[in-house]
């Protein structure tokens, strides 16, 4: 009796692990396929798609892909992506933390109304403000610059403000009160007490916004028409834009390369990311 029970248990465990693993393989198959495709010839990608390992391991795709289009290579596109992503991400993190502090700890008239406005923007489809924003930046002569892609980030983002508010609410209020009695201003409480304590939330914001900006496609598509200004997300699209046959090998290689920063951050900051999503219900 006991033995059959154990056998049953072992069997159920095996079935469980096997099915979870199989599903997992199915899930990451496209990713593995993309990476292995980077080392295949275009012919092999198109005609022997099921094979995972390349017949002949080649680095040509990376060399040819990196060369880019015309005189613009992928070094430039990567640099563009980093400039946009880093500046926007810094901005959103700093400004959101300021606002989150005000909304949770400081009492001033209009706070509640502002909070409601902020929550409302969470539900607002970006398409509604996309067109007037475009007209605004166009009239200011700022298309084909990174200003429209970076500047709005410096005024906080409802998502991150909300997430940081949750975090600050979890800190004991006595910290603020004690500091005020000691004669600290709100500015020094924020910079000396709150900021260090909410660093996990800051890191989560940095990571998630990095992902959003790195993958952002619509913004650059609307505002940038000069290929020399393109970030990677837009540059990769050029592979399928060309009127001639698409060069799948280089396209796969550059696609894999463009995900490298994403993978790297995922590997090192997995914990913050998962925590951030579970506490704020945010979608990356």
């Amino acid at each position: 009796m006991k033995r059959t029970n154990r056998a049953k248990h072992v069997l159920s465990r095996t079935v469980y692990h096997a099915s979870i693993l199989l599903l997992g393989l199915l899930m990451i198959y496209p990713v593995i396929w993309m990476v292995s495709g980077s080392f295949k010839t275009t012919y092999e990608i198109l005609n022997e798609s099921l094979k995972l390992l390349p017949e002949k391991f080649t680095l040509d795709n990376f060399i040819n892909g990196w060369r880019g289009f015309g005189r613009l290579n992928f070094g430039l596109f990567f640099k563009n992506s980093f400039v946009i992503t880093i500046l926007a991400t810094l901005g959103v993190t700093i400004s959101s933390s300021l606002v989150a502090y005000a909304f949770t700890r400081i009492h001033f008239p209009g706070r509640k109304a502002m909070f409601i406005c902020m929550i409302a923007t969470l539900m607002l489809p970006s398409q509604v403000v996309m067109i007037p924003q475009y007209i605004l930046f166009r009239n200011l002569g700022l298309t084909n610059t990174y200003v429209p892609l970076i500047l709005p980030s410096w005024f906080g983002s409802a998502f991150f403000i909300f997430m940081m508010m949750q975090f600050i609410m979890g800190l004991p209020k006595e910290l603020d009160d004690a500091a005020i009695i000691d004669g600290c201003s709100r500015y020094s409480i924020y910079s000396h007490i709150i900021l260090p304590l909410i660093s996990p939330a800051l890191i989560t914001t940095l990571i998630i916004n990095f992902y959003w900006k790195w993958d952002d496609f619509m913004g650059p598509l609307i505002y940038l028409s000069r290929p020399a200004k393109y970030p990677v997300s837009l540059a990769i699209k050029l592979f399928i834009d060309s009127t001639s046959q698409t060069d799948y090998g280089p396209m796969f290689a550059m696609s894999s390369l463009s995900l490298l920063p994403v993978f790297a951050i995922f590997l090192f900051f997995n914990k913050y990311l998962i925590e951030g999503i579970s506490t704020s219900g945010m979608k990356t």
Partner: protein, 309 residues
């Protein structure tokens, strides 16, 4: 002397609760005015005008809104495509996320690893790079067709060329990214007291019964939240459809997502007025659908704090 007094009162104002409150929230106040509320008002205004970007807007009253319903079949088509996409992908994605999250709650050392593997696609799935590669999976001799041939499907499906199938590439891409919803469910599952399950086990409840009578009701607020968020996100989907169809919404407008249609009107045809009207209709549709989900939530979302109502 006077100067010093002035400085003192300046410092007092600067450090006052009200003033510092406004200083800290200044980014939001300025940003909300400059990038949200004023653009919204302007957008509403131009939605009642004919506005080609090169000339100034001309007031045309309701004609943009009338045009949508009376002489623009692509508008109705794009609503149909988007609804079809949302109705197919959101329940499947949320359902999948829920079941997998439930299966991964079993205590074992590999659960964390599995969760990372399942989460990875939703991390990268929204990127142009992955969408381009995803498209090739469905190419004529791509992985999917090769696999179907092994299973015995004789005629390869023209996924990218057939209006009936192209949308499925996008639906599957969406479902593939169930990971972020799964993580949210996993967090919710941790909140369910273990004693509930123990009690069920004592009474001889099967795994399936535990899922339907404990997990499902306890998680219903999270299911509700995920459904709302995914639905809103689904209506705003753009990049995937743009990449799969090379910006055309084809074949035969079968991947013409609503957001893509707005983009085309605004930035391919430069119909800023009409595109703004379309954007406002999107806002209304999303508000309506969200309200609808909220309305039904009374019947299936269980809040413990309300004593089961």
């Amino acid at each position: 002397m006077i100067k010093k007094g002035k400085q003192h009162s300046f410092k007092k104002i600067l450090h006052s609760e009200t003033f510092s409150g406004y200083v800290f929230s200044a980014p939001f106040i300025i940003g909300f005015l400059a990038f949200t509320i004023i653009p919204m008002i302007y957008s509403l205004f131009i939605s009642f005008t004919s506005y080609k970007i090169s000339s100034s807007p001309v007031w045309t009253g309701l004609s943009n809104y009338i045009r949508m319903f009376s002489e623009d079949p692509r508008f109705l088509k794009s609503i149909g495509v988007t609804l079809y996409y949302v109705v197919l992908s959101v329940p499947l994605k949320v359902g999948f996320a829920l079941v997998v999250a439930f299966l991964l709650t079993r205590k074992n050392s590999l659960a964390g690893f599995y969760r990372s593997v399942y989460y990875l696609p939703s991390l990268i799935g929204g990127s142009v790079a992955v969408t381009l590669v995803w498209k090739e999976l469905f190419a004529a001799k791509g992985v999917v067709n090769t696999f179907l041939a092994i299973l015995g499907v004789k005629n390869p499906i023209s996924w990218l060329g057939d209006p009936n199938f192209a949308i499925w590439i996008l639906v599957l891409l969406a479902i593939w990214q169930f990971g972020s919803s799964m993580i949210i469910f996993a967090a919710g599952l941790k909140q369910i007291p273990v004693s509930y399950y123990e009690a069920a086990k004592m009474d001889g409840g099967s795994l399936r019964q535990q899922f339907f009578f404990i997990t499902l009701p306890c998680l219903s607020p999270v299911i509700f939240f995920n459904t709302v968020m995914q639905t809103i996100g689904g209506f705003m989907s753009f990049t995937q459809a743009y990449i799969i169809s090379k910006g055309t919404g084809g074949p035969m407008d079968s991947t013409m997502f609503y957001a893509l249609y707005i983009y085309k009107q605004a930035f391919n045809y430069y119909e800023m007025g009409y595109a703004s009207a379309l954007a406002w209709v999107l806002l209304l549709i999303i508000a309506l659908v969200t309200a609808l989900i909220f309305k039904t939530s009374d019947t299936w979302v269980y809040y413990e704090s309300k004593g089961g109502k």
